[in-house]
């Protein structure tokens, strides 16, 4: 068995080596991500104390089921993303390794200040990854908001330290067993604000449109799927396992999550641009996951996060490829790449019928979208039905009403998007080949197949969710204030 600290140390070490061996950065990146993707399956569970300093004085890494499953998803998806984009990764190979080390650290650390350090490492790597899109104004805005968020987080952590005298999460959870005074909640709200930047909650998500609205097949899945998922899992750790909230603060933060959920879905409905639809949907899903974590539905929130991460991985990658489509008459083959003359075709009407030309991509995109829209047979449906079931069991009827209403909006814009992408021509008229967009895009067959396989996993998990239920239960059991433990497992209701 292998110590979990290797998941952080190996990518960081190889990243520094890659600076010395600049011509070998790609092979080194491949080695780092592949080793991590294998090592994550054989690491020791439990607490790993760095430097053997007695708790709570030393830094501790905590690998329980909750963080282990997140680590597996993170490292496997990260490796896939690197493999699928290997051709276009030129200058940022070292940055990607630093990002991987930082994200692994975020999921494992049991220390609030160490969490800040990993937040900064992964945030700085994210700034550099986003900068590959050359939209520097958006990068600058992202950096400013990100740094302000980090300052808020650190301010909150120091205020908590001054009250409790520890930065160790386990120790703080022990000391914070009962609801505290208003002085306790100010730092918690500051920490919430700090994490709200990366979890894309209002009002700290101003960067999302600029960054994800211009994303390609690397930046989109990285920021919209992997980073987002990791930050939500970290949020869940802090707010379902460490901090104790009173009713007023829980309601206040829940309102922010609900406003994010509603604003995200409404914004997605009101736009016709492909990447904007996805990014606003991502904002809404973050709002939903945060809402569930805040109200104690830890296991269900984990399912929401994983379903969203898988779906958004496929969607952002295909959207990144499709929106860089070009007309054959405009550019000869590959000329657009050589001359960097790619036009962004983001409006779904300009991409009408593009899946008729690329049915395999269409199937993968449709399955991920329909899972996101919570249609039966897909993993998203199973997750959404359990969200509602858990809430009804607890006698909560307001939140399910909001979630159902937003799900309707979500279903409407996703179906509208799929209809246009599959079926060219005007509404009510028969689709013809002439109406199909003249745009084309190149995509590797390997990418097609991998995305199709991931999308099929969403169907498999939708039909047979036992595997997901068991993992969610185990993950939820590690969260102190998790209350969701019963599930709808079978067709037609609970057994």
């Amino acid at each position: 068995m292998i110590r979990p600290v290797l998941l952080v140390v190996l990518p960081l070490l190889i990243a520094f080596l890659s600076v010395m061996f600049k011509k070998q950065t790609k092979p080194l990146l491949l080695i780092a991500v592949l080793i991590n993707a294998v090592v994550v399956f054989v690491i020791d569970k439990g607490e790993y104390i760095i430097g053997n300093h007695m708790q709570p004085y030393g830094i501790v890494l905590n690998v329980d089921n909750y963080s282990l499953y997140a680590l597996i998803v993170l490292n496997v998806l990260f490796a896939l993303l690197v493999l699928l984009n290997l051709a276009k990764i030129t200058k940022i190979a070292s940055i990607l390794m630093i990002a991987l080390g930082g994200l692994n650290g975020l999921l494992m650390t049991g220390d609030l200040f160490n969490l800040f350090v990993f937040l900064e490492i992964s945030a700085i790597a994210a700034f550099m990854i986003v900068a590959t899109n050359k939209k520097l104004i958006h990068v600058f805005n992202y950096m400013i908001i990100g740094i302000v968020g980090s300052v808020m987080y650190l301010f909150g952590v120091i205020l908590l330290y001054s009250q409790y005298g520890t930065l160790n999460m386990n120790k703080m959870a022990e000391l914070m067993t009962t609801t505290g005074t208003p002085a306790t909640y100010i730092p918690i709200i500051m920490i919430f604000g700090g994490l709200a930047v990366e979890t894309k909650l209002l009002p700290f998500n101003g960067w999302v449109k600029g960054v994800l609205g211009n994303s390609d097949s690397l930046v989109g899945p990285m920021i919209g799927s992997i980073y987002s998922g990791v930050m939500l899992i970290v949020f869940g750790r802090l707010f379902t396992d460490v901090f104790v909230l009173n009713d007023q603060v829980r309601i206040l933060l829940s309102v922010i999550a609900i406003v994010t959920l509603i604003a995200g879905e409404v914004s997605a409905f009101s736009t016709m641009k492909l990447r904007e639809i996805l990014l606003y949907s991502s904002v809404a899903q973050s709002g939903l996951a945060v809402l569930l974590f805040l109200n104690g539905y830890g296991s269900i929130a984990v399912l929401v996060v994983f379903a969203n991460v898988l779906a958004k991985f496929i969607l952002f990658m295909l959207a990144g490829v499709m929106t860089n489509s070009h007309k054959k008459s405009e550019h000869t083959e590959y000329e657009h790449i050589l001359n960097n003359t790619v036009d962004n075709h983001d409006d779904i009407s300009t991409l009408a019928g593009i899946f008729v030309k690329n049915p395999l991509n269409g199937v993968a995109f449709s399955v991920a979208s329909l899972s996101l829209a919570s249609l039966p047979l897909f993993f998203g449906f199973f997750v959404k039905i359990n969200v509602l079931y858990s809430m009804f069991l607890r006698g909560d009827y307001v939140l399910p009403a909001i979630i159902l209403a937003t799900s309707l909006v979500e279903g409407a814009y996703i179906i509208r998007m799929l209809v246009v992408l599959w079926n060219p021509g005007k509404e009510g008229e028969k689709a013809t080949k002439e109406a199909v967009t003249s745009l084309n895009y190149e995509i590797d067959q390997l990418v097609c197949m991998v995305l199709l396989l991931i999308s099929l996993s969403l169907v498999a998990l939708g039909i047979s969710p036992d595997l997901a239920i068991d993992r969610a239960d185990e993950a939820g059991a590690d969260l102190e204030y998790n209350i969701s433990t019963e599930y709808v497992e079978l067709e037609g209701g609970k057994e």
Binding site: F116, E120, L136, I137, F140, I144, V148, S150, V151, F155
Partner: protein
């Protein structure tokens, strides 16, 4: 000293909100971070405490200042320098691209 830190942080936030000049925004970010660092140091300070360095003369002393915030501040300063360096690099690239440091003018071009 807590108050000094908080006032500096507020000045930094004010600078960020009211400025569209990217260099001034970077300076504001730095003021914000310095305010936070002073606040962290203030948390570790106590009346009649001595520097947390063990020497022959204070081997039996029990009134050391809390050393942890000082260690945290060192890390926070290093991270702050790193982020400032990246911000300045992006600012330089933006200037090369747009010929101005004003965000409003950049967005108009």
């Amino acid at each position: 000293m807590h108050i000094v830190g908080i006032v500096l942080m507020l000045i930094g936030v004010y600078g960020l909100i009211t400025n569209r000049h990217i260099i001034k925004m970077i300076v504001s970010i730095n003021v914000l971070e310095i305010g936070l660092n002073i606040f962290i140091i203030a948390v570790g300070y106590g009346e009649n405490t001595i520097a947390p360095i063990l020497t022959k003369s204070n081997i039996n002393a029990t009134n050391f200042a809390d050393p942890l915030p000082q260690a945290l501040v060192l890390t926070a300063i290093v991270i702050g320098v790193g982020t400032t360096a990246i911000l300045l690099a992006v600012a330089r690239k933006l200037y090369q691209q747009y010929g101005t440091y004003d965000l409003t003018e950049m967005e108009g071009k």
